[in-house]
Symmetry: C2
Subunit: 776 residues, 2 copies
Amino acid sequence: MNYVKGKNELKNWVVSESSFNTNHLGKCEAIMCLGNGYMGVRSSTEEKYLKETRDHFVSGTFNKFDENEVTELPNIGDFTALEILLNGDRLDLEKGEVKNYSRDLNLKTGLITREFNWTFKGVEYHFVSRRFVSLKDLNLMAIEVAITPINSDAKISISSGINGQVSNSGAQHFHEGEKRIYNKKFVEMISTTTTSKIDFIQMTTHKIKLASKELHINPELNMDRRKVSVIYDVDVKAGVEFKIEKLCSVNTTRDLVHIDRDLKEIRTYALNQLENFEKVGFDTLLEASKVEWNKKWDAIDIKIDSAVEFDQLSIRFAQYHLIAMTPAHDSRMGVGAKGLSGEGYKGHSFWDTELFLMPFFSYTMPEVAKSLAKYRFETLNGARKKATDNGYTGAMFPWESAWKDDGEVTPVWGAVDIITGKATKIQSGFIEQHITCDVAYALWQYYMVTKDEEFMENYGFEILFDTAIFWASRLEWNSEKNEYHINNVIGPDEYKEHINNNAFTNYMAHWNLNLAIEYYSKIKSEKPAVFNTLNEKLDLDSNLKVWKDKSEKIYLPVPRKEDSVIPQDDTYLTKEIIDLTKYKNQEHVGSLFKDYSLDQVNNIQVSKQADIMVLFYLLENKFSTDVKKANWNYYEPKTLHDSSLSLSTHCVLASDMNDKDMAYDLFRRASEIDLGPNMKTSDHGIHAASLGGIWQCIVNGFSGVRMLGGELRIDPKLPENWNEVSFPLNWHGVNLKVTVDKEVLTVVRNSDSDVEVKFTVHGNEYILDKKIEIKY
Amino acid sequence: MNYVKGKNELKNWVVSESSFNTNHLGKCEAIMCLGNGYMGVRSSTEEKYLKETRDHFVSGTFNKFDENEVTELPNIGDFTALEILLNGDRLDLEKGEVKNYSRDLNLKTGLITREFNWTFKGVEYHFVSRRFVSLKDLNLMAIEVAITPINSDAKISISSGINGQVSNSGAQHFHEGEKRIYNKKFVEMISTTTTSKIDFIQMTTHKIKLASKELHINPELNMDRRKVSVIYDVDVKAGVEFKIEKLCSVNTTRDLVHIDRDLKEIRTYALNQLENFEKVGFDTLLEASKVEWNKKWDAIDIKIDSAVEFDQLSIRFAQYHLIAMTPAHDSRMGVGAKGLSGEGYKGHSFWDTELFLMPFFSYTMPEVAKSLAKYRFETLNGARKKATDNGYTGAMFPWESAWKDDGEVTPVWGAVDIITGKATKIQSGFIEQHITCDVAYALWQYYMVTKDEEFMENYGFEILFDTAIFWASRLEWNSEKNEYHINNVIGPDEYKEHINNNAFTNYMAHWNLNLAIEYYSKIKSEKPAVFNTLNEKLDLDSNLKVWKDKSEKIYLPVPRKEDSVIPQDDTYLTKEIIDLTKYKNQEHVGSLFKDYSLDQVNNIQVSKQADIMVLFYLLENKFSTDVKKANWNYYEPKTLHDSSLSLSTHCVLASDMNDKDMAYDLFRRASEIDLGPNMKTSDHGIHAASLGGIWQCIVNGFSGVRMLGGELRIDPKLPENWNEVSFPLNWHGVNLKVTVDKEVLTVVRNSDSDVEVKFTVHGNEYILDKKIEIKY
């Protein structure tokens, strides 16, 4: 792999695979995944290989296979595999000789180009394929394959269509529906999810060209079980380019645009749509998609002048995927922990969205952040039901969230327990409860960054209050200590189950209650109509008393006298300490479980990921730098970073503590989770939170941007080998351009708005007119 | 491929693959399929390849994926794929260098041995694997893999377990159940069919040996979705043999032996059973299975002295599969059209069983024939329901039959119609009705051959009468011609749909009615108790009048004056005649449909398979040799033999007409359907009926054995290049050994019974004492 490629204007815009190796199929499928928020397609090669994972997902189309499973994004019929026979032999790069191989994902345009020369049985073929998922036409994916036999005539046969024999690792989410080939040209397959009853209309059509001239031939037609395809057989002269253009479309009955249409109407719509695509053609469709990508990049582009070129690529890579994976078109849908790039985590949304993705969107694409925040509002009924089911009140958000009505969807069974030989029971869906304050926090952050009063009035305040109601009902009175405890939880560190008083959870619950108290007064006086509606709905008046009483009595663990270490929970510090060297140096995450069962891990001072560090990051002003350092020194050596959420948080914290080398090192390691030398990390999909984390390292970490108590702070700590970084920033609806070099912070107002922009830099307050340069 | 192998005592007992080619995976998987009637396993290689089809079926465990599909045999979790890493590289014969490759299925013992040397990255490995499905312990399959690094030490890693991510071409029949690894040794996976709710308990355990000495090491344990496995990593010195023995068991809640056990009890049973297998070990388990195979071969072996060695192999191949595929242990189950060797025809039973498999069993393993006949009795309720649903009375057997309660299970949609672009509607389940007289015929043949009065009294007569009741209700009065017609059917020739008065169907319905009339009188006088019971149940007295009245008035097409051709149906002879040369010389069956839609084929004088020929075969004495010849000359040139049921029937007919060369040629072609040079014919499974047909070619064709009106006839017509054939024959419970050489027919009585054995040879009647030699 050689990730850095692209010359001149494409420099650091291209993720590239420079030689082909079937051991790395999963890596490229995931990191080169194409998407437009509506759908995502793993970039499997045109020809099939044994270890491929060929996935295609449509956002929000969740289904569960049976009552014992949880809902997941179903893998729809595959368009991408073409059976390519060259003189009767299957194109297979494990055979013959391959020269000049490259596969490039252009992050700027969302286009994949794959090119090589293949020599087999004495005939050399030049192969070029292009593929994109349109950012303009959300239903469209387009594939083009061009093959030129160089030194001899050749018989080229292509079998292509829609293959619905795929599944999610064996779980089949679709009833087989009607298959049809209209006019020997437009191939259609209908399928319906088994329990959520979403109809999918998949269509495809092909155009054949010889030396750029369209060839009008009838293909052989094929239907098999869950499969429909056509075969084109063409005799091609030496030196002549054979080309097949394949346009593919997906429509579903879940699509907002089809909400008033029945299946028959959508089928007609889809057929007309594909006929139109076919008239427009591959190249023009591609141009239209590029225009949309350009608009996005204009709004979000970050420029880094670093001694290490890879730094620039890694943020573009992250932002490309953040755009490609996020269903910005439909607020009924969240973002999956693997985006749309793999079956991992089943397309479910976690706190990853709130703490790792929302900051990027709130600060640069607030309309997308709003959609994601609204998604949680859409799921409020499920959250209320979860609270009620667990004996609480208010809104208890699901640890894993899927379709808005699905409620809690965390699976119950995980990997093998090496002691009992049984599957391990996953407790997160039951007791990892901090998600509820994470939702409140991200919402408040969105509000503070954007000042979107309309959103808060219609959706946001209701969530803020209802999460506080949950926490008040969740607290447990300890009569011995005369304080409220939160027992039997999992904190961010998932290697500690059934613990009491996780510091992060207790502090954030406390914060959530106080936020509700604060906004009770504020909106009562400033927005009486909103207040009255919510008061009627949630009885804020009675709840206020409870919040005030209880929030004062929550146990908030404080630093130990002797070493300033805050106990992560009631028992962590009493547990056995073992030599973790082997696991700190592990090649693959989770190696601990080859030696220990989860029960055993529970009793060792070892952490999966940032826990107290996240607390320091969110409630920065509550803790001194000394306390932060003491806790870093205690916990980091015990943290295996087995979660991809860990490194970027540590990077931001290291920046906050002014340890630039450590911060930069952690940034590099975070960047390499997906785009690094370990070829196995992305097999189940890219790491959405880690990609959002890369943005956070740069903006919240190195550039020191933070919203604190509603105010903007910019305390740059540029890494030693960076000369400059610049990025867009949205504050209260104003587009800012922020540039940080070794000595000077420059902030430029990029929009016409006359909203006042105020911020602090290393303790000094500044007010922005058009442009300000601050020597920091 | 080199099918003929085996030296000395193994001569013509071995089906062999002498070089490896991934284009031929399906062929070997199917023709080397292992089975014991309880289960069948396609012989996929230990290492995985792209185009493999890894199927494992358990007889009778039908399930349907959803309401729109028909029931089928589900593909259960796979045991056979082992991930074998040699110095970190996956064993893959498409890479590196392969020498001395062989894969042999020993038909005598049911053991597959695969052997080769593989050199990769400078290290040469000797590989030998053995695999069998036990004919003794029906739940058991055993696999052994031995690898010796020849010229260097090597790191060998084997990942092995149970993989439930498989499906039936995308249809997933199982709910995922509990997975468990007991004592790091006994791997268990529970799964349950989605609609028929059959629990499967699959278990496996491994034993590792180095230089024949057991190595006690703990493997790494793995659980994934629908998957559980263990990994053994072993460092192996050059020249030392590494061996892994894998014992696998399947138990289900459908098994007769578990009928009174709940799932928990069966799990305990299965664990104990596997622990016992493990104690006994691979070699001893294999010996026990061989003993059972020997017993079978003693009972059925046919010896052929032919100039062509392949002839001997082909009948053994056929008989091996007839044993392996047939669920002789459970009369609730039928035989699938592809046995247990592939997903083709979904494990369903067709008329193939009655007309192509039952003769072999009736004449040589009558207890198995009885089980198959009883299977139809078990399905009587479904047959009666089908009659009622269609407005008829009596028993209307389903064209495709699965679990006894499933009723008609013919799928409704087939291949693409090239004109409309829609899937073709399959009519057989609605109108291919001759299956009902085929069942009656096979039953009667079983009775006549075995004289099994007990079976007839308890089951057989009820079927005979109820099928007659059906036919009487099915007949349609034509007032113009004053006769009964049978309109809108499909005859054996499935290229003619919605036809009236198919000769085969009309004659056989007539025969069925007359048989009922005959047995009405016979059992009324000879078995009054049986008669009274059935008379009460089916009102035989009233029905008798109807049968007599109607059977006399059925239209039975007669040979045309001008050319003695019998119209296959009312319109066949009026249809267009086209040049069929291209399709008669086709490489793959069904090529006609690349040029014509089924609607068009319906209007051409072209036949899929034997139709009137089957009538000549079953009701031999009704037609003169001249009529048979005239019809052969008319219909055979129009018959594409697109069904595997066609060639063997034609072979027997050619023998009957004394055309020895034609008969032998047809036998060879029939033998080559599975065991021939075309490597694609068996991809979806072997052709059960064709294998039964090979036996018929030899016994009913070349040896001229026939039951006619209850009497045995043996009119030998030995092929020119055969010197002798000998075979066992069961007649009225007496074991006979029949030997035919160029001039003499020898019949020997092999059992002590004093039952009189009478037969005719070329018109002369003989009575057998101990041995008789007849110059024929």
